[in-house]
């Protein structure tokens, strides 16, 4: 949106000249855009922290506002700061990153391999799984329930169901081949 950019640049330039109203408007105008960027890039961070990250980004823009060269376009400068701060904020929260498993479903589901439930002793093997994992395997692998339906019944997200299923199948496969005891 070229109009938006022209507006932002004009506002920020006025702000650099000491115009408080223009600066407030500039910050208000970029805030929803930054919020969107953080939401899209920040799926691995719980949503309630997004506003904190947004505020960190605004503070960084404020603290480094003298590094913008008025002869250059504003947006690359602005986004470079935001990308840096957002990445930083995610990394800082790395210890408690909550992965959105939905992102990984395609990769996990695509892995080929022998079907361990085909073995005659599948149910005996499944007794060695955790009850929850066994239930998921039984529901989807043996009883043919869809992941969506199983998710609803077990009150888990569909992504979590798929991942649990994938892990359980892997474990079953190892058990079936006698490589795990």
């Amino acid at each position: 949106m070229p109009d938006g950019e022209a507006d932002w640049t004009a506002l920020f330039r006025a702000a650099n000249g000491g115009d408080r109203v223009a600066y407030a408007r500039f910050l208000q105008e970029i805030t929803p855009v930054l919020r969107g960027i953080i939401r899209v890039r920040g799926r691995s961070v719980p949503a309630h922290q997004h506003e904190d990250i947004l505020q960190e980004a605004l503070l960084a823009i404020h603290a480094k506002r003298h590094t913008w060269d008025p002869a250059r376009p504003l947006r690359p400068w602005l986004y470079a700061i935001v990308r840096h701060k957002v990445t930083d904020a995610f990394r800082a929260r790395g210890a408690r990153v909550e992965l959105d498993l939905a992102d990984f479903i395609e990769i996990l589901a695509a892995e080929p391999g022998p079907d361990p439930t085909a073995a005659g002793d599948a149910r005996r093997l499944m007794d060695q799984l955790e009850p929850r994992a066994a239930e998921i395997v039984r529901a989807i692998g043996l009883d043919g329930e869809t992941p969506g339906a199983a998710a609803e019944r077990l009150q888990m997200t569909e992504g979590a169901i798929r991942v649990a299923l994938h892990r359980a199948m892997k474990r079953l496969s190892l058990l079936a081949h006698g490589t795990l005891r």
């Binding site: 650099n16 913008w68 060269d69 470079a80």
Partner: protein, 211 residues
């Protein structure tokens, strides 16, 4: 604090601080002068200064490190913008480095093989390797302090450029004292001295230039 409150607070202070280049201009000049003065009064000019520098090969002792420092400072200033890059400056630095390499090769060519060791050794090696980092201290510090106000996305590289700038300045200042005119000596050891400061600058940058 809500985001609205934050915006209100930030908007109360719209005027930006002075640019990094302006800050650097204010601090680097005095730092270079201080380095030059300590060379002049602490180390002393070489007695045959003017005669020696009439030889263009010897003059390169001052010229090459100065060019290196100039390219490094320009690169560091560019990198101090978050969207900045150093492509042009890296090319300039590479050009200076290639010239130095050419001079070094020239040194080997004009020196009889049996004298290579002695030419490289010189007689003031320890002084050279101590003096360049010492004289580099203030200019490098000025660069690092100015860059701290910047917004470099690669703090280590910015720190290295600060060290390269400070080291280059120090080497060209030290050249006013240094009596060694063999390219085999000064390319090798000025290069090593500058490299030491560059590594120290990179380490300092990694710590101090994060934001």
């Amino acid at each position: 604090m809500t985001t609205e409150d934050l915006i209100r607070r930030l908007a109360a202070d719209p005027r930006p601080a002075p640019t990094v280049a302006r800050t650097l201009a204010r601090w680097l000049g005095p730092a270079v002068l201080a380095a030059f003065a300590s060379m002049a009064f602490g180390w002393g000019f070489r007695p045959d200064l003017l005669r020696a520098y009439a030889d263009p090969v010897v003059a390169l002792k001052v010229v090459l490190p100065s060019l290196l420092a100039g390219a490094a400072v320009v690169g560091a200033l560019r990198l101090a913008r978050p969207e900045g890059h150093t492509r042009g400056s890296v090319a300039a630095l590479a050009l200076v480095a290639l010239t130095a390499l050419g001079l070094w090769t020239f040194g080997f060519a004009v020196t009889p093989r049996e004298n290579w060791g002695a030419a490289m050794q010189g007689s003031t090696l320890a002084a050279c390797l101590l003096s360049i980092p010492t004289l580099a201290f203030l200019p490098t510090l000025a660069l690092l302090l100015a860059l701290r106000r910047g917004a470099s996305l690669s703090s280590t590289l910015s720190g290295a450029l600060a060290g390269l700038g400070g080291g280059g300045i120090a080497a060209s200042v030290y050249a006013f004292h240094c009596p060694e005119d063999q390219p085999l000596f000064f390319v090798t050891w000025y290069g090593t001295g500058i490299l030491i400061v560059t590594v120290l600058g990179a380490l300092a940058g990694r710590r101090w230039l994060r934001w």
